[in-house]
Symmetry: C2
């Protein structure tokens, strides 16, 4: 029997991500920008807003005109006119004067604040009583207060959420330079594996990994490219890899990554042009028989054939590589993390990082995580699971009642 | 000044979601199923797997043949042959015999377990020494152990994740009946609002809400349909609504939802065929001036024009309606929830639910949430924010150091 020749710790395995360079970039329209990764720093060309505007319906005033006003002793102001929306007011306001203004209206010269309509009584067309004093700057947004000219509005490597799209719209950036989505080839291997639309004969099972892995690639921000099922044959697999490598930024082969007589992935990777095997084996469970190789800046993964192991390895190990190649640098820094209380003891082996499938349960407002029992190879266990619980490699397990971090899957 | 005529509590407002029926369904291929909502219960037509298979490389045996075997006193077994992958073995195994088997291979008749290759030494082609006894069922998955014939594999209303896609593949379900994505029309209103590719003159600002809301619709599983900017005019808005309603399941108008002289949304909704206004005003902040109306089972939303308010109302109030119309019933029940420690006091008013924007900070392994200060109308504050912190309507605020639930945005 052969042996794993270069087993890495999980954190070491993840460090290889920086060995791969980013994919190319492209332009996308704002309406297609959600979730994309900016491929350039974008600066604001003008003040946002480029004028002082009201955030309330009411009367624009110089704040001083309202000072001391109360219900008992209102300030009387002369209404000089109405601010037209979307246009510059054609009049100035002096002390003792006011202008009708709607939310979003431009403040007339001479004003620095807005009295809310709720605090005003109109006596006639020309006169109002103001019942409440306002401070300068009240109920307005000043020019450049949202974003100032020259400020950065989007950093290279940042993910575009709805609010970033809104900010770009405000700044007039209709097309954005983003990284292309990494194209990830997917190959399933195994003489026993048949297509999803075939009826399995004795000893045959349908291809699961093509569909779990392509879904996970989509979720990670990549584009899956399916190359189907390849038989357990060095020549067939090599040929499939060469074809796939021409069309992809990354390639994932599930099955054949271990050390048995039918495991050809390592040999095939070694036989590819300009290839280096970075590791064979990761000290995690499930998922030990995982291979990472590099060929012309493309990441080549050999994943276990077990559906569950392949999914977990993708989530924990492969996904950060897809994100990294796609330009995502997680500038925002802190990701929220979920915790839950463990309902029973989980045993683990020292020296490897374990990932246990768990189901969330809520009882008396407390969130619990219950380990999903049963054999690890069952896809039904992943369906029952909501989260993964990570058990560190220096731990022999976690006791019932402990608060653990959980990773939604 | 007009008044809000029917202000609802947040939880009451959300209850209206069940007033709207589900959208129609369609068939999608497995490769397009991620995130879609099943529109039918799907049952397993056959056992998965449909034969007992090995989960290890090794030797298939009757467990009894290995009983008592140790390193010091191995069991000697006769190798009867090799199990071909993807085929039924052509031989039986009796006590004292074994068959070479690879991971995924079909167990020959007479066997009930697999001895791992690591615990075996081959003496010659025909004889092995077994160093460890195995229990019946070891290192195998039995027929139907993953999913049994007739078991449910996907419930109507359930969201399809990668693992559900894998389960469907295993069961040979290549095309799945899912709910269509609800089509959500988006209209921005305001005489001061201009297109993103125009240069704002004095008093003008670019349309933000079209892009924030369309991104949020996508994120919620809907399809945004953009109807552009409509001027503050009853007739223009009514016409735009009638056009949009023909093409959408839901319509969102931002701006004009309050009670000012320029606020036409309520009047327009009231003027639509077969329409009912369900509420006008929600006791939340920001976002009070929110309208929900119903016309021919279509949900009509009037959202505040402020970009931040519109986003928060969408996340908190509109999104559950999009999900509900899209068939999502959250059968899984428990959603993980994030908590973080508040870095400073937040004040709030009783009688309304507040949503404060927060930034996550990690220090000494503790996750903190820091309120983003500044005026609520600034889109830049949403860009700085990672989460929303909810302050219940019976609370006057939350003190520094408290653990609060945070909602990623």
């Amino acid at each position: 029997m052969k042996d794993f020749f270069k087993v890495e710790d999980l954190y070491k395995a993840l460090e290889y991500a920086s060995d791969f360079s980013f994919v190319d970039y492209q332009q996308v329209h704002l309406t297609d920008s959600l979730g994309r990764i900016a491929a350039a720093d974008i600066f604001c060309q003008d003040n946002i807003p480029n004028f002082s505007r009201s955030t309330m319906d009411g009367y624009a005033v110089a704040a001083a005109s309202s000072f001391g006003a109360t219900e008992a002793c209102p300030a009387y102001l002369t209404v000089k006119g109405t601010v037209e929306m979307g246009a510059q007011p054609e009049f100035n306001i002096k002390t003792g004067e006011a202008a009708r203004i709607s939310t979003g209206g431009m403040l007339p010269e001479g004003t620095d604040s807005v009295v809310m309509i709720e605090h005003v009584q109109a006596l006639d067309d020309k006169t109002i009583e103001v019942y409440k004093s306002v401070a300068p700057g009240s109920n307005i947004i000043e020019a450049g207060e949202d974003v100032g000219k020259g400020e950065i509005i989007l950093s290279c490597g940042q993910k575009i959420r709805a609010q970033e799209a809104g900010m770009l719209a405000a700044a007039g950036v209709e097309n954005i330079r983003v990284y292309k989505k990494p194209v990830v080839g997917i190959i399933s291997t195994g003489d026993e594996v048949i297509e999803v639309n075939e009826k399995p004969g004795p000893g045959q099972i349908r291809d699961i990994n093509t569909y779990t892995l392509s879904s996970l690639v989509l979720k990670a921000g990549g584009i899956p490219l399916l190359f189907g099922i390849v038989k357990d044959s060095f020549d067939d697999l090599l040929k499939a890899c060469l074809t796939a490598l021409n069309k992809t930024d990354m390639l994932i082969i599930s099955g054949g990554s271990s050390v048995g007589v039918r495991d050809f992935t390592l040999d095939v990777f070694s036989g590819l042009p300009d290839s280096t095997v970075l590791f064979h084996g990761i000290s995690i469970s499930p998922g030990k028989p995982t291979i990472l190789a590099k060929s012309n800046n493309k990441a080549l993964w050999g994943l276990p054939g077990h559906a569950v192991s392949a999914m977990i390895v993708f989530e924990i190990v492969v996904k950060p590589f897809v994100e990294r190649m796609g330009g995502y640098v997680k500038k925002r820094g802190v990701e929220p993390s979920f915790t839950a209380t463990l309902t029973r003891n989980i045993a683990s082996s020292q020296g490897r990082t374990d990932f246990v499938r768990g189901k969330l349960i809520k009882k008396d407002k407390i969130l619990y995580v219950e380990p999903v029992l049963g054999k690890s190879g069952l896809i039904s266990n992943m369906v029952k699971a909501d989260v993964l619980v990570k058990i560190g490699k220096n731990s022999e397990g976690i006791e019932k009642g402990a608060k653990v971090r959980v990773l939604p899957i």
